[in-house]
């Protein structure tokens, strides 16, 4: 079946004329139509536009001008600006917003001939770890419909796991690509901060946000990374470096590679089932020639507190732009300030307001030094500790998430418990390090993710090691979720 194929395989079959780009797109659209009512992955499906894009892609394939992913469908997290296609950030404050421009990554997808299927659900403004903070709908985990897909890129991760799309883009501020990828049994990659332009990504925490790919294999994630990365003058934090090279990745190996296992990421509140599966993978890789050593990175234990000061501080500033003047609805209030406060008070959801409040408090007079400045120093400490480890090791390896997919509603009344789900993923955002999550097995029938973190600009080497690890753990890719009409 077309929808069972990886993007790399679809690419070969499109070139072999086994099927047309329109047939591929139609197969995914049909599957979305049949099953997404159960899962709630998409906020918008662009059926007509997608078929037009597919026909354009077919022309490129016919004329020999196709690029590696021409004609391959993709789903986009709904915080990426798409010209002429509603972009909501899963918020009532952007309910009817139709961007007048494309994000740089979207421009690059279009010029590489990919076919945009639609926009996927997320926690409002990417703030959350379960996708339950969406103002519009719940998204369910394809492995167990009573469970969360994780978040905030839960719609994208669930869509890839459910074979609604072979590829998707998410954004990762504290783990929002890798944690849902882990819970949905797919592969999610956060490139080095600055390798991928943030232009057109609706900003949450600007010093932490990074766009990245989600797919069913490291190879597909790499092919998509090659398209979306590279310098962009419209994002002043985008590094002047070339795109990620897929060729370098395929030559990757983990034999003789040195992996640091931070004891802080193998203790505490991690589920025993998750630890067991990750330990089994480590033993297997060790037999195949990887070298593992326990290390200590004490600042990891301060990561959640540090993140929940820095990210809300940046968010409180970034979200000031939603004032009911340039976009979104406007509610009437007492004068200009009253109208702005009423619009924001009524249209932002609870979690978004909570984070704006934390951030405003942490930045306010009298508290700045105690919270924001101190958090930035802890961030400096964390970066120092990781950089020291990277002088001796090729990567830091750990579980991606402390737990497997959890029942919907179970943690939504406990904001602190939800925040602890970022425990393993936050350090990579703090240091801008590239990081990938790939499935390494199952606990109780639910996927378990393995996380690798590498040094800044070590993206190709990290992907190469992940590629080889994926080949060495074939059982991790032996199952896929079953959906019934």
């Amino acid at each position: 079946m077309i929808t069972d194929l990886a993007a790399s395989e679809l690419s070969k079959r499109l070139r072999a004329r086994d099927f047309s780009a329109r047939e591929v797109t139609q197969a995914y659209l049909d599957r979305i139509r049949s099953f997404d009512e159960q899962l709630g992955c998409f906020l918008t499906v662009c059926e007509e536009k997608a078929l037009e894009d597919a026909d354009r892609a077919q022309n490129l394939l016919n004329s020999g001008e196709a690029k590696p992913l021409t004609g391959i469908p993709i789903a986009l997290k709904d915080n990426l600006s798409t010209e002429g296609v509603r972009t909501t950030c899963a918020s009532k404050i952007l309910d009817n917003y139709v961007p007048p421009f494309d994000a740089t990554v979207v421009e690059r997808l279009k010029s590489a001939g990919l076919v945009i299927l639609g926009k996927t659900n997320l926690d409002e403004f990417a703030m959350g770890t379960s996708t339950e903070n969406s103002a519009f709908q719940l998204t369910k985990n394809p492995w167990d419909l009573s469970r969360s897909p994780g978040g905030s890129s839960g719609g994208s991760a669930a869509a890839v796991a459910a074979r609604f799309s072979p590829l998707a883009l998410g954004s990762d501020t504290g783990g929002s690509i890798r944690q849902p990828a882990s819970l949905c049994g797919v592969t999610g990659f956060k490139p080095t901060y600055g390798r991928c332009s943030r232009y057109g990504l609706v900003a949450f925490g600007s010093s932490l946000d990074q766009i990245g790919p989600i797919a069913n294999s490291v190879e597909d994630v790499t092919l998509l990374s090659e398209v979306i990365t590279g310098h962009d003058s419209r994002d002043s934090t985008c590094l002047p470096t070339p795109p990620i090279s897929a060729g370098a990745v395929r030559a990757g190996s983990f034999k003789g590679a040195r992996f640091a296992l931070p004891k802080e990421l193998f203790s505490g509140n991690l589920e025993p089932g998750v630890l067991q599966v990750v330990h089994q993978s480590i033993e297997h890789l060790q037999k195949e020639g990887a070298i593992f050593s326990e290390v200590s990175l004490p600042s990891i234990e301060l990561g959640v507190s540090t993140y929940y000061i820095i990210a809300p501080a940046e968010a409180s500033s970034n979200l000031a732009r939603f004032d009911g003047v340039r976009y979104g609805p406007r509610l009437e209030g007492d004068g200009h300030v009253g109208a702005v406060a009423k619009t924001r008070g009524k249209l932002f959801g609870h979690e978004v307001k909570a984070r704006i409040m934390i951030g405003t408090y942490a930045l306010s007079a009298g508290y700045y030094d105690a919270y924001y400045l101190k958090a930035q120093q802890v961030r400096g400490l964390m970066i120092q500790e990781f950089e020291r480890v990277f002088t001796e090791y090729d990567a830091v390896l750990s579980p991606t998430s402390p737990c497997v997919a959890f029942p919907l509603g179970e943690l939504s009344q406990d904001p602190l418990a939800l925040k602890l789900l970022d425990y393993c993923t936050i350090p990579a955002n703090m240091g801008g390090f590239p990081s990938i999550s790939l499935n390494c097995g199952f606990s109780g029938g639910l996927p378990v993710g393995l996380q690798l973190v590498g040094p800044v600009m070590g993206d190709e080497k990290l992907l190469g090691m992940a590629y080889a690890i994926e080949q060495a753990l074939p059982e991790a890719r032996s199952k896929s979720p079953t959906l019934e009409a």
Partner: protein, 96 residues
């Protein structure tokens, strides 16, 4: 140090968020719980460590001073809730 209800109200005002009474109580409790857990960073020894506002060392990015593509007026105004004569309409800020 616990946050009082007055402080919650003050922060909401700074953040331009109109909150009802129930929300003020809820946020007071949530903020106190969260800030309580943040106390762990107070104990961190960060003497001599420079604050890091960014993950990766950044350099100033210069652009050529030349005109390039920008949104048309119509495109920029298209999503606004209220416009007049090619401009955004905002509630009165300065009274007569």
């Amino acid at each position: 140090m616990a946050i009082s209800l007055d402080e919650v109200e003050h922060v909401a005002k700074l953040a331009r968020l109109e909150l009802d009474e129930n929300e003020l109580f809820t946020f007071q409790s949530e903020l106190n719980a969260l800030l309580g857990t943040f106390q762990d960073i107070d104990l961190a020894n960060v003497a001599g460590i420079d604050p890091r506002p960014h993950a990766v060392e950044l350099q100033n990015a210069w652009a050529q001073d030349v005109a390039s593509y920008c949104l048309t007026r119509g495109a920029a105004l298209r999503n606004a809730p209220l416009t007049k004569g090619g401009l955004f309409v905002v509630p009165t800020i300065i009274e007569d």
